[in-house]
């Protein structure tokens, strides 16, 4: 489950499986390590359990979230009194977010009764979570799928074919950079990785543009094609972002080395 046997990469983050059996994001329990500890640490989700869709446990509608905020409030669009649409005017959203923050933030309730302070904390946490989800096109698209009973499902567990070459290229360049750093001569390798990073950023911009276009299609009625395409783009976006994060991290380390 955790490794793609063809490429021997972690399904989630694309790193070579030998280095990392599971990754934090997917957290799938590797078969080989089951039962090590009788009381056990936690395994994430039960992706392989029949009848249990892992993506219904993203946390948005989970019972525990309900305990924090009544379920009527967990519609993130409703939080901002916005219609449910997959596209959002970000400037307007930000203004709504600021207006709610000015009304609800715990800083404004420090001289209020404890019940008001607690309510302020809960509501502000919800507003912050809703804003974080809606302002980011990817998080919003995933949320959109979720409230419509859809999920990326297994699509997200395979390296998208369109990106397979890129994944290899990035891993290779990062390996070279690490080796060069050990040898104390990272300059050339750093330049090469910087070039890869620029390419990834272009990939990301490309995906963002495609996603925005698809979300428009969704908003205008949508169809099965738009859904499939959106899933495909989201899956690619997810990979590009993870790769970019790895590259940024490695670059950061080389900058400060």
């Amino acid at each position: 489950m955790t490794t793609n046997t063809e490429t021997a990469l972690c399904l989630h983050c694309g790193k070579p499986a030998a280095e990392q059996l599971v990754c934090a994001g997917c957290g799938v329990v590797p078969r080989g390590t089951l039962g090590l500890d009788p009381r056990g640490t936690l395994g994430l989700d039960s992706r392989e359990m029949p009848g249990l869709d892992p993506h219904d446990t993203l946390g948005l509608d989970a019972p525990a979230a309900d305990a924090l905020a009544p379920s009527s409030e967990t519609d993130y669009f409703a939080v901002f009194a916005l219609p449910r649409r997959p596209t959002v005017d970000l400037v307007d959203l930000e203004q709504r977010y600021y207006a709610l923050s000015r009304a609800l933030h715990p800083d404004l309730f420090s001289d209020r009764p404890p019940a008001a302070q607690a309510a302020s904390l809960r509501k502000t946490a919800l507003v912050n979570r809703a804003y974080k989800t809606l302002k980011d096109p990817v998080a919003r698209a995933l949320y959109w799928l979720e409230i419509h009973g859809e999920s990326l499902g297994r699509d997200n567990e395979r390296v998208p074919p369109a990106l397979a070459a890129r994944v290899f290229e990035v891993q290779e360049q990062l390996e070279e950079l690490r080796a060069a750093k050990k040898a104390g001569a990272a300059d050339a390798a750093t330049t090469a990785v910087a070039a890869v990073r620029d390419e990834l950023r272009d990939d990301l911009d490309g995906c963002d543009a495609r996603l925005a276009k698809n979300l428009e299609r969704f908003g205008n009625g949508g169809d099965a094609d738009a859904l499939a395409e959106t899933k495909k783009i989201l899956s690619e976006l997810h990979y590009v972002r993870t790769l970019l994060r790895d590259v940024d991290r490695e670059m950061g380390a080389s900058w400060s080395a």
């Binding site: 599971v22 990754c23 934090a24 957290g27 329990v29 390590t33 089951l34 500890d37 009788p38 009381r39 056990g40 640490t41 936690l42 395994g43 994430l44 989700d45 039960s46 359990m49 446990t57 946390g59 989970a62 019972p63 525990a64 979230a65 305990a67 924090l68 009194a81 203004q95 600021y98 207006a99 923050s101 000015r102 009304a103 609800l104 933030h105 715990p106 800083d107 404004l108 420090s110 001289d111 209020r112 009764p113 404890p114 019940a115 008001a116 309510a119 904390l121 809960r122 509501k123 502000t124 946490a125 919800l126 912050n128 979570r129 974080k132 940024d248 991290r249 950061g252 900058w255 400060s256």
Partner: protein
């Protein structure tokens, strides 16, 4: 009006400020006129190995070179650490208790002190000053912490406040505080990078300002990198290179002081003599040029630039998107630091406010916001480090990503990996690494579950971070509804009992009757609660439901009667009952303000220029 002060509890220096009308001011010692309290605590010995009463500030700093073993400098570097985090240099510099306690403790004479106890002594000195200058008791404070402080370090800072007799209303991130001070001073809107290089910590924050909202977009840093510690050490190493006593504690203390003085001179001259006279009368002198100094510290300055680039990347910005770069912290007086910041952001950085005072000024502004005296500004801060739990295979599973705006909450559902588990262990982690053991362990607790086949049980885990960035974790077995919740008490922090004991041991409280103090506190809390609720009743009468006001008023009368008695437990219980009966009313007020906010969303708020 209640006085709330803002405190910059720095590695090298500490200051206290408050909001006087609309202007934040740092508070000077009425006796000496000085605003800076060096963050140094010295315990004079009486010759028998016992420590006398502690000395704080300038006098203690003067003692550091001659009494390095009984004088603690840079205690902030040790807040929230365990013994395994100590470096060889730390152990060379101070003696630590080698008992089996979890909490790191300095050994001084016959006694040991946890870092929050030392910090509390500095806070008490600031409190004393503020009370002398403002004329009246000061009980509440906002304290700044490096943005990159983790949960453990934040808790330790709150403990220090409590030990000093201060209720810490809010921990504010230092670069954010600086941005508040600058925002009040001159900026209206735009994106600002705050580069905060202090005596012992480095922070960078990217903020977006708009009409009184200060929204932090990203933050980064290094809590063990500073001008006082790393720069001075580098110069001291250079000065002592080849010297036979270069590792001796007293020699190093003298060399560090000479290094610090030379560093300050080199901000304005191109070359200076670094000299020291050892206890045996030998004199050591070398000339240090600006170029040599720059070469010595270049690697240290370079280490600050990685977090800057990372923060920009996290905020999704390029250097050119930043409208202003602001310099904070004494170490930004070093010309090489200024040059590197200018180079990175492609513009001359701003430093119109005193870099030593700007954080305290910002803390004063936040104190004003919390006391209700400043209503047109609001800080939206972020959590600096990701939070998560350990899952199967020793993996860190993040529930809350770094740079998420706080307060926030997130829940995730987990299951078991082994058949018939009777409990699951939750290991709460903080950090950016993928593997649990590379992250900071914050707490461990376990929740009992109904045994079942692996994969069937469902445990909901909710992380809630309050406006101080402090975490509460709740875990619930979905099937039984059994639930456990805790405020994360860090693995290297003080327990409530330890704080209580330290309070009892401290001289200030030793003579007081503890019961009398608890009664007085419960009465004050009751009076505050009644005042808050009466004000709310007056302002939002329209939202009351039939009979509700009578119920609330009755509860107020009961509380007033209880407060006249001497049973502090009863006062607390009745206060809780009053709080409970007013809860639905408070919720309605909240709903109404949400409605108002969205209706008037474009009207904006305050008189922001």
């Amino acid at each position: 009006m209640e006085r709330i002060v803002g405190i910059d509890l720095g590695t090298t220096n500490s200051l206290v400020a408050w909001l006087d009308d609309a202007t934040p001011r740092v508070i000077a010692d009425p006796a000496t006129g000085r605003v800076i309290v060096p963050s140094v605590v010295s315990f004079p010995t009486n010759g028998c190995g016992d420590s006398g009463g502690p000395i704080v500030g300038d006098e203690a700093r003067a003692l550091a070179p001659t009494a390095p073993a009984t004088t603690i400098e840079s205690v902030k570097r040790f807040m929230g650490l365990g013994r395994e985090h100590l470096s060889a240099a730390d152990r060379q510099r101070y003696t630590f208790a080698e008992d089996d306690g979890r909490v790191l403790r300095f050994t001084i004479g016959e006694r040991t002190y946890a870092p929050p106890e030392i910090s509390a002594l500095i806070l008490k000195e600031l409190k004393r000053r503020a009370e002398a200058a403002l004329g009246g008791e000061v009980k509440k404070a906002v304290i700044t912490v490096p943005a990159y402080f983790n949960d453990t370090q934040r808790q330790a800072t709150k403990d220090a406040g409590r030990l000093a007799g201060l209720e810490v209303l809010r921990l504010v991130n230092e670069p954010t505080a600086a941005a508040l001070a600058y925002g009040l001073d001159q900026m209206s809107a735009g994106t600002v990078a705050v580069y905060d290089f202090g005596g012992g910590t480095f922070d960078v924050s990217i903020l977006k300002m708009e009409r009184g909202i200060f929204a932090v977009k990203a933050t980064g840093g290094d809590t063990r990198l500073g001008g006082g510690d790393d720069v001075d050490e580098a110069v001291a190493d250079w000065l002592l290179a080849g010297h036979p006593q270069s590792a001796a504690r007293d020699v190093r203390a003298l060399a560090r002081r000479a290094a610090e003085e030379a560093k300050c001179r080199l901000s304005t001259v191109d070359a200076t003599e670094v000299a020291l006279t050892l206890a045996d009368g030998t004199r050591l002198a070398k000339t240090l040029t600006r170029a040599e100094f720059d070469a010595l510290i270049a690697p240290i300055v370079e280490r600050t630039l990685g977090p800057c680039r990372q923060a920009l990347a996290d905020a999704g910005l390029r250097p050119a998107d930043v409208d202003a770069a602001v310099l904070v912290g004494g170490s930004t007086r070093i010309p090489l630091v200024r040059a590197k910041v200018a180079e990175l952001f492609g513009r001359e950085p701003l430093c119109s406010l005193d870099p030593d005072q700007v954080v305290a000024l910002g803390a004063g502004v936040q104190a004003g916001i919390l006391s209700g005296r400043k209503k047109d500004m609001l800080l939206l801060d972020v959590v600096p480090l990701s939070l998560g739990i350990e899952t199967m295979g020793g993996v860190m599973t993040r529930l809350i990503e770094r740079n998420t705006t706080i307060p926030t909450s997130h829940s995730e559902t987990f299951t078991t990996a082994v058949d018939n588990q009777t409990a699951v262990d939750l290991h709460v982690l903080q950090g950016e690494r993928e593997i649990a053991k590379d992250c900071r362990s914050l707490a461990r607790f376990s929740i009992p579950i109904e045994p079942a086949t692996a994969g069937f049980p469902r445990v909901d885990v909710v992380f809630m971070i309050d406006a101080n960035g402090i975490l509460n974790v709740t875990a619930r077995d979905v099937r039984t509804g059994r639930e456990r919740s805790l405020d994360v008490k860090p693995s290297y922090g003080l327990t409530d009992d330890e704080v209580e004991r330290m309070l009892e041991e401290s001289i200030d409280y030793a003579e007081e009757d503890v019961a009398a103090r608890l009664l007085a506190e419960s009465r004050t809390e009751a009076a505050t609660l009644i005042r808050q609720i009466e004000r709310t009743l007056g302002e939002s009468r329209a939202l009351l439901e039939a009979g509700e006001e009578d119920a609330i008023r009755a509860a107020i009368v009961t509380l007033q009667q209880a407060a006249e008695g001497t049973d502090y437990n009863r006062v607390r219980d009745v206060a809780q009952a009053l709080s409970d009966v007013s809860t639905p009313f408070a919720h309605r007020i909240m709903e109404a303000s949400i409605k108002r906010a969205l209706e008037h969303k474009n009207a904006g708020g305050g008189s922001w220029v």
